[in-house]
Symmetry: C2
Subunit: 619 residues, 2 copies
């Protein structure tokens, strides 16, 4: 069995012969940058081999310079391990420290208590005049909370002993009518829950103390399923292969949730054995994968999921190691492409209770749109692709150190100005930087409204010198140089956006815009009637409204001052369900009442989509 | 590892060194006669060693003749296996072919359906206009039965595949709102359930087709826990030792239930994978042992059980291999000594709905009494001991081949007449035979009303010659010879009832009678007001009313023509709960409304008990 040593941390793994470095590292929780998930398509998982065999792959030959090859750089997804190997994975090539949005502001008013509650009670001991069974004695001690109480086998087995050793003074922990645990003395306030937001790329978890609903810890990890498919569709395709592939995906995400829960528990200094409840939000396919249910029908017409309503299980049934009796709740979905994350968004924003017409847009690998108010709301989804998250973009990257996240140009300026996260040497462009870039290209005239990079001669004729010099054309097509090789982090080649990158963004923005336009059309309202635009998700929190408008992500008539980033509403909605039982009933009712619009079935959708692809005329 | 060969069937077992023959045989399902459960107290488990070491135990020396020892007879509970051994266990020394009561007549009117029901439905396939989730599609197809439907993980995982492979025509099997299975096509009428009556000595199981409530098969086995304690108290004491002793008892009874279910399934030609539900009745301690709950508090004042209400689990939680989603229901108990078997009896007899004042008596190792009618009823229990089942009686045995089961004497006859089951050579006396004997002894004057065997001279003076010759006295006390050695099955010694045997019966009948008297006293009614006397249990079906009256089991004022044997009401009640959901609600309500009278807490109980011990004057 070959060993892999990872530097700089000098961590050594035993790996299976024939595994790629990429697989071995992801398997061990060392997440190498990638947007194709190790399929040899994204050209981002280059690492440096310090010791051991490093045969060249076709990918290496095609994408790396001879100097890079000589220094030991290789694509980690193409190098299979046969002997002991030492590899360097610089921090910058890892998916650590992403700018992950874990917060969200609750805009819906919820009161009431959590599903899991603790009751301290002093019971009358058995006597000649009180021969009640222990369980009935506890029920009586719990008063109204004891009505219809049910106990699982282990709880019942422990009951006689606990009651007698505690002198009949105990704390009962209940999930509705289910008795989860009985403990000696007063331990109220020590029941915890985990809320999870399973994103296709990133999973965030929150540890919540249940009696007050306080969040005590937050942790996130890349979704470790990404190694088997970067986006929902490739992952669903992998899952549809066999039961064992579904098992594999299920076990990856379960391990990921468990690891996040452990991170949180360590932060907060509590034991996961005291975690009695969990709530999970995520898109419909992520939830199918969590349950090991074949999501294939979602990927083909008519896109039917295996279920849409809320689902409840024991956490242990899914393989999570919390309290043995811990519960688990999955937020309800609306349709195959409007999932529990959006229902969580409805909860977090209170859209369904608002008077004013509100648009909620969640821009991730899919763009989901909900439009409405308390009188009714509709939802639709458009496959935006991963461009907004920096994937499928040649120099795209997550929003982390070294990412160009902001680009500015003022009319009359000679050149663009770049802002890099952490003021580091630039390594790539994240989603918001990408939108800023394209907005600036449009404003400067470096691209036209069809998205085409202007020809070099045209650029030299019409643009300021520094701008014109950024435009290059070769046999692969046009590109815009953002940063020259010498000034980049790796110093190896120019940081560019290619014509194809711009097309990717165009497709993504076109999809979201088309969904917004279709929602307005179906609802029969004009853009100016929308009073509030809420952008959910990490991306939405960082997008610059002016750039969003410049590229035409939203109709021009939208009042951009009403645009509001509402943060990670998927995580917030899950936390609300954890701390307020009432939130679940609300989510279930709202999900059921959502009018889902299947865009592909709308007769005029292709027309709307084609219009939405074009960029608006710059002002 | 020594090997044990059992003859005549030539079955060979590998046994652990140091195990007794008794333990090894019971462990392998070869049930040697015993009433102490291998504790060296009952002197009934004698077997014959044909090959191998056969060292003499103290028990052997004390109880066996030198001729018996020379022939290789040994107490199987005292002989530990160290080498390969061949043992002969004659059929007569086994607990096969007992006269077990499996039937009972339902006297309560129940209609309505089982918990588990099957629904055949043709679902609309997904389409552009119907994008429901599979689960929601099924819910809609089930109409009102789909309301609040919940699916377990495996059912949900299988759903997309089953719906599509069946062309969306399926049968759903539900337990209330829980979806247990979805199968292609129409398979209605193929859901089965098992009803169990766990007796301390014998376990009976019934396989029931759930849609019509028909019983398709019946099977019974000795309660295999008996090897670890013959009566409830010694078994409860064993269970209170440690968690592992509880586990041991639990696993014995679970294996026993599974074996009975397999017997039934084989008889009916159905697979246990189609068994979706199970109902269990039994006394409170048996139910505690089934769940692995420590019953110790039931055995000490104030006799508090761990629970009394009905309990529901998944059968798999208890380790039963039925359908993976099969349910299991435990009938509610009333108190530590009035268990689910009595609640089942209330269901089966409809006592709580009757107009006339009714007495239900269940005579087993405990004597339970319920007295009342639809206006109210009370229950109490008296520890009768196992005498009625032939245990602790020197020549006592189960009601099986070779047992004296009926004894008659008419005034003026010179001698007693004996009836032996199967007209075999007599081997012992079963419970009903014992009562007949004692009744005859009373009528002939061989014993007086205090239970004392008359002195020999007194017998010779007052009794007919054959009767007088039956009475013998030696240094151990008096005894009555029933059958001379030469005419017994083994031909080794006289079949006798000793003074101590008569005392055992007297204690047992005294306990039951005291419970009856106390019930009348607490209810404030006179014996003649009782309109109906129902005797439940195997014993009750075979008892001769005239003998019961002669020994004073019931008050003299009882109208013996109203005495009715109602059979195995514990099994019948369990079957009613299996086929009628309504029966469960009824059992729960009736159990709750039962006024339990703790006899030991009644100030005048000892007085009543002392009176109850005496035999009435013969007529």
């Amino acid at each position: 069995m070959p060993r892999l040593c990872i530097r700089p941390e000098e961590r050594t793994l035993d790996v299976s012969a024939g595994q790629t470095i990429f697989e071995a590292c992801w398997g061990a929780g060392v997440y190498i940058q990638s947007s194709c998930g190790g399929l040899g398509a994204c050209n981002k998982c280059v690492v440096r081999i310090l010791e051991g065999d490093a045969p060249l792959s076709a990918l290496d030959r095609k994408h790396l310079s001879s100097a890079e090859l000589a220094q030991g750089y290789r694509h980690s997804c193409a190098l299979r391990l046969d002997r002991n190997t030492v590899v360097e994975i610089p921090q910058a090539a890892r998916r650590y420290g992403e700018r992950i949005l874990t917060d969200g502001r609750a805009q819906s008013s919820l009161s009431g208590q959590a599903l899991v509650r603790q009751y301290h009670c002093r019971l009358e001991p058995p006597s000649k005049d009180n021969g009640l069974g222990d369980f009935e004695r506890l029920k009586r001690g719990l008063k109204s909370a004891g009505r219809g109480l049910q106990a699982d086998l282990p709880t019942l087995q422990a009951l006689p002993i606990t009651l007698r050793s505690s002198g009949f003074e105990v704390t009962a922990t209940c999930a509705g009518p289910d008795l989860l645990a009985v403990e000696a003395g007063d331990v109220c306030g020590t029941a915890y829950g985990m809320a999870f937001d399973i994103g296709t790329t990133t999973v965030v978890g929150y540890l919540v103390e249940l009696s007050h609903g306080r969040t005590l810890a937050v942790a996130s990890r890349p979704n470790s399923q990404a190694a088997l498919g970067q986006d929902v569709i490739t992952r669903a395709q992998y899952a549809s292969k066999s039961e064992s592939s579904r098992d594999e995906l299920r076990s990856l995400i379960v391990q990921c949730l468990q690891a996040i829960a452990l991170d949180c528990a360590a932060q907060a200094g509590v034991s996961l054995a005291r975690c009695f409840d969990a709530v999970v939000s995520g898109n419909t396919i992520m939830l199918h994968l969590l349950l090991g249910v074949n999501p294939h029908p979602i990927t083909v017409f008519p896109f039917a999921p295996a279920w849409t309503g809320a689902r409840a299980f024991k956490a242990a049934e899914l393989g999570l190691s919390f309290h043995p009796q811990a519960r688990l709740y999955l937020l309800p979905c609306v349709a195959g492409y409007v999932g529990g994350d959006i229902t969580a968004g409805l909860l977090a924003t209170g859209l369904c209770e608002r008077e004013e017409l509100t648009l909620l847009v969640d821009v991730g690998t899919n763009g989901e749109v909900v439009l409405g108010n308390r009188d009714g709301w509709l939802a639709c989804a458009a496959p935006a692709g991963p461009a907004f998250e920096g994937a499928r973009i040649s120099c795209g990257m997550m929003a982390m150190s070294g990412a160009i996240d902001r680009v500015t140009w003022s009319v009359g300026s000679a050149d663009l100005e770049f802002h890099v996260l952490d003021n580091a040497a630039p390594r790539g462009v994240c989603g918001t930087g990408l939108i800023d870039c394209v907005a600036a290209f449009l404003e400067t005239g470096m691209i036209d409204t069809s998205g085409r990079i202007v020809r070099s001669e045209e650029a030299q004729a019409r643009l300021a010198g520094p701008l014109a010099r950024r435009i290059q054309h070769d046999q692969h097509g046009g590109r815009v140089v953002l940063v020259e090789a010498a000034r980049t982090h790796e110093g190896r080649k120019d940081l560019c956006l290619t014509q194809r990158d711009i097309r990717e963004l165009q497709l993504a923005k076109g999809a979201v815009r088309a969904a917004v336009d279709m929602a307005l059309l179906v609802r029969g309202v004009q853009p100016h009637e929308v009073r509030s635009v809420l952008i959910a998700g990490g991306f939405g929190s960082f997008i610059r409204p002016v750039s969003a408008r410049t590229i035409g992500l939203f109709p021009e008539a939208f009042d951009m001052s009403r645009l509001e980033a509402v943060g990670n509403t998927a995580g917030l909605g899950a936390r609300l369900c954890l701390s307020h039982l009432e939130a679940r009933a609300r989510a279930e009712s709202w999900a059921r009442r959502t009018a889902y619009v299947e865009l592909s079935a709308q007769p005029n959708f292709m027309e709307v989509f084609a219009d939405a692809m074009a960029f608006p005329e710059p002002k």
